[in-house]
Amino acid sequence: MADRTATKAERLAEFFSRLTTAPACSTFDEAYALICRTMVAVEDEMTTLPNNPPTWMTDGRMYPPQMDNVRPVPGRPDVQRFRSRGHNTLIASNGAIKIESTTGKVFFSKPGADDHAV
């Protein structure tokens, strides 16, 4: 675990950076796994906050989207949406990823291995 806590902005930037440089994913499962392990790794390396997934109230640490919070996307049977307090994480069956606010502001987008975005 880290010996200091980087700011949330630093950790979020690092999370997006690692997602960007990772090889493109080919399937939903690959993309979801990439998001989860990258987030856990960044938080373990850059914060002293313990990993406590059952916590519901914010403790300052980022936690990966959970499968029980998935929703379908109307008109897009190839995309699944994970809802969190202020964001939607969209993952397509081709491995593409998009993270946006609930008001539609896009923070991150990564095409799948076929070079198509969400």
Binding site: L12, T55, R85
Partner: protein, 153 residues
């Protein structure tokens, strides 16, 4: 109609000029989200987990991956808090932004003394501190015990 659908109905009657949207989960074990817009401010988001209660947040751009700011055990308390946040425009109180142990320390208060002032057992206070999962009402009690009051911005 479930609890959060009733809350949506109640809030929609109270705030006639906003569209309050419900985002249901695909799975039974998932969270329901109720989005309450606020003019010129971040929305109030009410999250309902049927087996755990209600979370209230005023999300920002940089809180990706984080849980709710405040937790309430029942619909009545969560609804009242949501109404307060909409009407006052203030932000929900995130415990990560409130360093109450250091506040007590600066006042020369031990955990035993703080617990006494709050009317709780020291062991309970210790448990709260270690969990970091604090009800707003508890935070308010702590602030009062230290001669202050809880204020959000």
């Amino acid at each position: 109609m479930n609890q959060i659908e009733k809350i949506q109905q109640e809030l929609s009657k109270r705030f006639l000029d906003v569209t309050i949207t419900l985002d249901p989960p695909a799975k039974e074990t998932g969270s329901w989200f109720l989005d309450v817009p606020r003019q010129g401010r971040s929305p109030v988001v009410l999250e309902w987990r049927p087996d755990r209660g209600f979370g209230v947040s005023t999300p920002g751009d940089d809180d990706y991956g984080e849980g709710a700011d405040e937790i309430y055990p029942n619909a009545k308390a969560a609804t009242a808090r949501t109404i307060e946040l909409v009407e006052t425009g203030v932000s929900a109180v995130s415990p990560k932004r409130w360093a109450w142990p250091s506040c007590a320390q600066r006042q020369g208060l031990s955990q035993v003394e703080l617990a006494e002032r709050m009317g709780v057992k020291q062991s309970n206070l210790s448990l709260i501190e270690s969990r970091g999962d604090v009800l707003v009402s508890t935070l308010d009690k702590m602030a009062s015990a230290m001669g202050g009051h809880l204020q959000s911005s």
